[in-house]
């Protein structure tokens, strides 16, 4: 029943149709991986253009306006369209398997969330073809963003609103899934760390995204319907946007990093062949980081002029986050301690992550010191810091997850030798690019500078940084080659290739679409490992073999999304011509119509009869 094998027998369009209508979390995971990967490459190209512009002083590779579009779209794309969707890819591919579930709680919503993200991402990028993409920075500070001419920022607002709705749905879906769909015996304190951290990240999404939604709505009204929420001349306030943005934006950082902490916890434990050191402390630290993550947003605003009291409070609150993060670092180190460390590609990324992320954390504490931040703020020091945590943390983690779960998702092992070459080039390129940027910032280079003057002591540092960026690009090309080579020449890898510990490795590779014929009984932390230590090869089932209830495929989420997509254009262009309001009605009509169909038409799914399952078992 392999998806790959099956697809060989079917026509191309029937496969496309299957993926558009799918509600299977495994296929949705693959789609997230493809779309997120595409946007990652796009954001990477934008980064290369930025670095090439800065390779020498007063360079004229791109114009000022285009440069501002590049930096805005690089940030927006990497955060919203690459990092988060790639995390969702692995959450989808792995979490239901890790907790012993047959799918997520709301498969329909899962599909809707995916398509909203995809079309929101497309919407964001439409601006490139209509006279200019968004150009007010990914943080879109008002009033610069509200007075930005053209439709670039309109595409930013509508695109993020659509993809943000998708993200919110995905977050709710995973919360409900993890609370309700755990197999018997899978108590909270037996959840694998990746599931735990994704659970907490989903809670962060639930509480953080509404702040962004509200901010975007206000901006949408300011830009499209002549309101003045952010216009001081009309009695509005431009600083409110910064608060709304960072009340969302700071938790967003933890949405990006917490699931990755989970990935590393799985990888370090598996390849040290040892259970995670201080499991309950890890869980506690995760929850604490998430809680504190909501208390510190104003540390992005130390120079706004909030006053000494607010700055001091937010400085100290921010520093406290270092404590639970430090606990995690030491727990990973002591998981390896007295273990049996095997250096595979995913483990290599985990090992590269520890020093890199420690540096990112160090500069994080340095930034928390408000008076020091007066110098770092909006300089290249900040750029260096957040790339150390987002690349050194999130991207390293995503690459580890890619190599680690690739066999789980595609029944192939990525080439280990190529994987290690990729790691080393990426690792060296990364530090070459960003280490020097700490110094560039302190030497007086503010961020978002299209050009810098000659003879300011900034030339060499920028040239080094650009060289590093191209090394990272080479590493990504090798990874792509590895993926293509593996797809063409790779051998099926079979079950449990890494000697895994958690439930996802108990499912055969490739997985049947219902995941578990019988839902397993979980007897401890690292359930598969527990069974292995007892000399068993398989999980003990928790139920007799019976009919399995599965949801039907549906095209409705895709149709709804198309509706919102069309309506989005209506909102953007109605300011030029009232007739274009028609687009809003058509689009919303399609979307609401699809919702009506969904509500009125019973779709109870189908059952896989017991007999068929028995037949399969005999094969």
């Amino acid at each position: 029943m392999s998806t790959l094998a099956a697809s060989n027998k079917r026509s191309f369009w029937s496969v496309v149709w299957d993926y558009i209508t799918t509600v299977d979390h495994k296929k949705i995971g693959v789609l997230y991986l493809i779309a997120g990967g595409f946007f990652f490459l796009l954001g990477g190209l934008e980064a290369l253009a930025i670095r090439w512009q800065l390779v020498k002083p007063m360079n004229d590779f791109v114009s000022a306006g285009f440069y501002n579009e590049l930096i805005t779209m690089h940030g927006t794309t990497m955060i919203f369209l690459a990092a988060m969707p790639l995390i969702f890819a692995f959450m989808n591919a792995v979490i239901p398997l890790q907790i012993g579930a047959r799918d997520v709680a709301f498969p329909f919503l899962n599909s809707l969330g995916l398509w909203l993200f995809v079309f929101g991402g497309i919407m964001l990028n439409v601006g490139w073809f209509t006279g200019g993409a968004a150009d007010a920075g990914w943080t879109a500070y008002t009033p610069l963003s509200t007075i930005s001419p053209g439709e670039g920022m309109d595409y930013y607002v509508i695109g993020l609103q659509i993809s943000g709705a998708g993200t919110l749905m995905a977050g709710i879906n995973f919360l409900v899934t993890i609370i309700n769909m755990r197999a018997p015996g899978m108590t909270y304190m037996r959840l694998p760390l990746f599931t735990w951290t994704s659970f907490v990240a989903s809670a962060l999404i639930l509480f953080a995204f509404p702040a962004l939604t509200v901010g975007l709505f206000l901006m949408m009204f300011d830009r499209m319907f002549d309101s003045a929420f952010f216009d001081p001349a009309m009695g509005g306030n431009s600083i409110i946007w910064q608060h709304l943005f960072w009340i969302f934006g700071h938790p967003e950082v933890y949405i990006l990093i917490l699931p990755i902490f989970g990935v590393f916890s799985e990888v370090v434990s598996t390849f040290s062949r040892k259970r995670l050191f201080g499991y309950s402390a890890m869980v506690f630290a995760t929850v604490l980081i998430a809680f504190l993550g909501f208390m510190v947003w104003a540390h992005h605003m130390f120079t706004v002029g909030m006053g000494a009291a607010a700055n001091a409070i937010f400085a100290v609150a921010t520093m406290t986050i270092a404590v639970p993060t430090g606990i995690k670092i030491f727990n990973w180190l002591f998981t390896m301690w007295r273990g049996s460390i095997q250096i595979t590609t995913p483990m290599l990324y985990a090992l590269g992550f520890i020093p890199t992320f420690t540096i990112g954390g160090m500069t994080g504490v340095m930034l928390a010191a408000a008076t020091a931040d007066y110098q770092y703020h909006d300089s290249y020091f900040v750029i260096a810091h957040f790339h150390y945590v987002i690349i050194g943390g999130t991207v390293f983690g995503l690459l580890a997850a890619t190599h680690y779960w690739w066999p789980r998702m595609f029944n192939r092992m990525l080439d280990e030798r190529l994987g290690k070459i990729t790691f080393w080039i990426f690792f060296v390129g990364f530090h070459l690019t960003f280490m020097i940027q700490h110094f560039l910032g302190l030497w007086g280079m503010p961020r978002r500078y299209w050009v810098y003057l000659p003879d300011q002591g900034l030339d060499l540092g920028n040239a080094i940084s650009t060289a590093g960026a191209f090394l990272m690009a080479i590493a990504v090309l090798i990874l792509l080659y590895n993926i293509i080579k593996t797809a063409i020449k790779g051998e099926p890898c079979g079950d449990d290739p890494w000697d895994g510990r958690t439930l996802e490795w108990a499912v055969p590779i490739p997985a049947p679409h219902y995941n578990f014929k019988q839902v397993p009984l979980v007897r401890g932390l690292d359930p598969l490992w527990v069974e292995k230590m007892d000399g068993r090869k398989e999980m003990t089932p928790s139920e007799p073999l019976d009919d399995i209830h599965m949801p039907n495929n549906t095209v409705l989420p895709f149709v709804m999304t198309i509706g919102f997509f069309i309506a989005g254009f209506g909102f953007i262009y109605q300011k030029y011509d009232n007739a274009l309001n028609a687009l809003i009605f058509v689009g919303m009509g399609i979307a609401l119509g699809a919702m009506l169909v969904r509500s009125l038409k019973d779709d109870l799914g189908y059952h896989i009869p017991k007999k068929e399952l028995e037949k399969e078992a005999r094969k």
Partner: protein, 356 residues
């Protein structure tokens, strides 16, 4: 607070590190060789936090290296299953408590300096300058002296100067790394900060909050002079220039300027009227043209003829004279006139691009 500053300074590491960190970076631009009160306070916190964090990094890397060498799977250990250790209460308490203590070391000076740098107790007795940031230039109004200038802010050495900052359009940020950390310049609320410079000289200032196309070209300078020179500068700036331009070209330039430019650019320093474009009083003694171009006739002519090529999106692009177009000859005449606008003998020594 001075006491712990003294102790910190005694650390040999401090000076070693300072030397290492200042190995690069341009004098009067870098934040790593502070020459002003605020920048020095920030620098101390930077050094303290780097030292503390270095301790953490060394400990983590030591454990990391040891564990990696000692416990790497060796040949013959393929089937070895290590003991499954759940955790260790003592260790976990240790690595919770120690970081908290380390953070206190950083938090105390952070809080102290945060309040120190927000101190407004001397505001009423100090020089007050109203700073207005606009796309993409800076206007300076000396409140009590009734003087207006732009791009180059003159202040006396070793004296606290209060800056009351507001934006005329989008958010900007006022940053002179060698003298002080930055403070945002918002459109709705006035932000107050003070600067105090320890040495005479010209300091580079940058806009640090993304503000549009020419954000990277919104430079300004702080010119620090002696108290006597400052007093003379204030007096000269307030005195209108009496004599007519010396050359015929400059005289024609003056007429052209009054016809095409004066509606936005004042040449009278003793004004409190809001500035539409930069006030050009004493323009002949400017450190740079438009904040980023070398101060010579050639650059000035190019700037007048085609400001978009030097600073994309700047306000001069809407000027009527550009819609009609301007000949190079006329631009040269205006340039001659502007370069003769010298109100004072107080002239900063400044060479922006030494390598060239």
């Amino acid at each position: 607070m001075k006491k712990w500053v003294g102790k910190v300074r005694m650390l040999g590491l401090f000076s070693l590190m300072a030397i290492f960190l200042t190995a690069c970076g341009k004098e009067n631009l870098t934040a790593l060789a502070p020459k002003g009160y605020s920048a020095e306070r920030s620098f101390e916190v930077i050094i303290i936090s780097i030292l503390v964090m270095t301790i953490v990094f060394v400990v983590v890397m030591a454990i990391f290296t040891y564990v990696l060498i000692k416990y790497r799977r060796k040949k013959g250990q393929e089937d070895y299953v290590p003991e499954q250790i759940e955790g260790n209460k003592t260790l976990e308490i240790v690595w919770t408590i120690i970081p908290i203590l380390l953070l206190v070391i950083i938090a105390v000076p952070t809080i102290a300096t945060t309040y120190d740098l927000a101190d407004e107790s001397q505001k009423d007795d100090s020089i007050n300058v109203n700073v207005t940031g606009k796309q993409f230039w800076w206007n300076f109004d000396y409140v009590n002296e009734g003087i207006q200038t732009s791009q180059d802010l003159y202040i006396p050495v070793d004296t606290r100067v209060y800056l009351n900052m507001i934006s005329g359009d989008v958010i900007h940020s006022f940053w002179v790394p060698t003298l002080a950390g930055k403070m945002d310049v918002n459109p709705e609320n006035e932000n107050v900060m003070y600067i105090e410079a320890y040495e005479e000289g010209v300091y580079w200032g940058k806009c640090a909050e993304f503000c549009g196309d020419s954000h990277s070209l919104m430079d300004f300078k702080i010119v620090v002079v002696s108290q006597e020179e400052y007093d003379q500068w204030i007096e000269n700036m307030g005195t209108p220039m009496e004599e007519e331009p010396a050359t015929a070209s400059a005289q024609e330039g003056k007429a052209l300027f009054e016809q095409s430019c004066l509606s936005c650019h004042a040449t009278d320093g003793a004004t409190t009227a809001p500035a539409i474009g930069p006030n050009l009083t004493n323009f002949g003694n400017r450190t740079m043209i438009a904040g980023v171009l070398e101060h010579n006739k050639e650059e000035l002519v190019e700037w007048i003829v085609d400001p978009a090529s030097k600073k994309p999106g700047n306000g001069m692009l809407n000027a009527p004279y550009l819609q009609e177009g301007i000949s190079t000859e006329d631009a040269e005449k205006i340039a001659d006139y502007l370069l003769e606008l010298k109100s004072t003998e107080v002239v900063p020594e400044f060479e922006p691009f030494e390598d060239q």
